[in-house]
Symmetry: C2
DNA sequence: ACGTGGTGGTGAAACGTTTGTGCAGATCCT
DNA sequence: AGGATCTGCACAAACGTTTCACCACCACGT
């Protein structure tokens, strides 16, 4: 390790001068030639500041943790990208916590902030974790921002425009002429699913329609759960002619189950799912989706977190709550939607 | 922040005693009642050791970086899981570096080790990065292990059993009765692709066959590149009746292009891809693949890295090079392979 | 009474930074 | 010429931890 001492020795100045020059401290007065001598020495010796020393002194680690339920789930990877990229813009690095041992409430999770390993935490909670429990597990709310996992009073929250997504999907089906529209939702207390469903309901209402209880499920966002949901909904009398699916993995599950049941998509059933990921292209038929600005949301979450750290710096009373709508949710037209049968 | 001083004050002992008790220093002699008083004070005050202070003193951050080309690529997410999980076993946390700004050679990448932000780096390089360039960009080879990205002399390397995977895929096609077998490879200098191809070649040779040059491509592991590759190979005269595809994303690309060309899979063409990810189930037809122990490889990589840090501790002359074969690559039979036409 | 040895701790240095304060010497003003 | 001001840098403390070295005290044997 080459330290400030080494550079100082090489340049024939004191340690503090080296530190101030390298950090371009505005309060320093120094002869230009001394400054360049210092700079040159640092370059020559390949000095790099030791981050532990710096963190200790500044009490900032320039690290943040991104907690997601599962990196394997493609719906989160865009988020990861957005977060990492924006974090780097701010000279922050990202600690990835996706293991169950790192989820809220666990010891690992608490240590992140308690041991001051990271300056703040970005938390996208999973469906299994009830928000009340998560809220109670938050040891440092002022250093936490919830991603698509709110609201919790006293904690900054940032969400996608789920309502708009629901509206967009429903609007598309209405435009095609559907009236028997169902909704395949997430688990019961899922707030994203609630909001997406609200978008569906509202849009149907605007068209003088209602979302039938027997055309709605709340079994979860997974491929598996959606197959169950599809089997249920498609055996109702009358069956819906179109489904809005709250999640794209679930949407693919619906497609699979419909095929299994001998129901042709899009001829006999239209399917539009919310959230766009790559497999939506390659499944058969290619799935029409609503693309969500996940990366952008991740970036905004970083901004909110770091802004909170700047100002509050102790007492975090300025709890933000934003929904990102830029870029806006966007309909991605593929092959799983068509006018209803017999039209 | 509650520090050792606070605990010491509360318990009426010196700072060093608290530190030694909490770290259960074997060399300490202490009255049982004092010890429990210290423990109780720490519990009461919710003491948590400050990681910056600890890192500075111990010159270990208990952090490691996992550098991958792209988290969005599903082929890497299992690896991420394996790494994170095993790292936690060792009380290490994982810094995720997937942004281009964190790739080998970049400033961000170098800072990871130079500033001692992390103790070591796990590097899965991307296809665009030539291994020679990467090798030169490694400022601290002794703190680096290459994942599926070797070999580089002087650097620990860990790889999957690519040859076995190639063998397994080819064996399957031979067993079905195919003789016109082609290979869709990665970019030209890709060592994983070279090894997978070697497995194909060897298995064909064992059966008295050869891999025809005109039935081989090396255009890349991506969906896009594989569509080009498929178009090329399938318009040869004679066309292969079966393809081993070096990567699953590419495999799905082959499927798409075949459909586009009106070639029915598996009736007219069998496709088996190496590496198993979720979309392989949902594409049409479902893709037969060879499942690779990516998580296990990630775990082993962590073991190798940390072992290297223990022993070498300065001069890293014991460069390991392992291929993980447990669990072994496994054929996952789905719907994209069948006996050749007219058999 | 006096060394000896064990018990139960304490003190201080060090890890590498950052930053407020001090202090020589030079320059300037009158 | 003598104080005031400025220039250019050095000193030292502090962040929180770990760990080596040391010491006061007591009991014990002689």
């Amino acid at each position: 390790m080459v330290t400030l001492r080494d550079v100082a020795g090489h340049a024939g100045v004191s340690v503090s001068v080296v530190s101030r020059v390298l950090n371009s401290d505005p309060s320093i007065r120094i002869r230009p030639e001394t400054r360049s001598r210092v700079l040159e020495s640092a370059r020559l010796l390949r000095y790099a500041p030791n981050s532990a020393g710096r963190s200790l002194r500044r009490s900032r680690t320039h690290l943040l943790a991104l907690v997601v339920p599962d990196v394997t789930n493609a719906t989160f990877t865009d988020l990861v990208n957005g977060v990492e990229s924006r974090a780097l813009d701010h000279d922050y690095s990202v600690l990835l916590a996706s293991s169950p041992r790192m989820q809220p409430g666990s010891d690992g999770f608490n240590r992140l902030l308690n041991e001051r390993l990271v300056d703040g935490v970005l938390l996208q909670k999973g469906d299994e974790a009830p928000i009340e429990l998560v809220a109670r597990a938050l040891s440092h709310p002022e250093r936490t921002v919830l991603i698509n996992s709110g609201p919790v009073s006293g904690v900054a929250t940032i969400a996608i425009d789920d309502v708009a997504a629901g509206v967009l999907a429903t609007r598309h089906l209405l435009d095609l002429g559907h009236t028997g529209i169902g909704y395949v939702g997430g688990v019961p207390a899922s707030d994203t699913s609630d909001r997406r469903q609200a978008g569906v309901v509202r849009t149907l209402a605007d068209a003088g329609l209602t979302l039938a209880r027997e055309h709605t499920t709340a079994l979860g966002y997974t491929y598996r759960s959606a197959r169950d949901a599809a089997r249920l909904l498609l055996s109702r009398q009358p069956a819906p002619t179109a489904l809005v699916v709250g999640n794209v993995n679930a949407g693919i599950g619906v497609l699979t189950e419909a095929a299994q049941m001998g129901i042709r998509v899009p001829d006999e059933l239209s399917v539009v799912a919310i959230h766009d990921i790559w497999p939506a292209i390659t499944c058969a038929p290619a799935l029409t989706t609503v693309r969500l600005p996940m990366a952008s949301m991740g970036a905004t979450a970083v901004d909110v977190l770091l802004a909170g750290l700047e100002t509050s710096d102790g007492d975090g009373t300025d709890t933000t709550s934003r929904v990102v709508d830029d870029p806006a949710p966007e309909l991605v037209l593929r092959a799983s939607t068509a006018p209803p049968p017999g039209s």
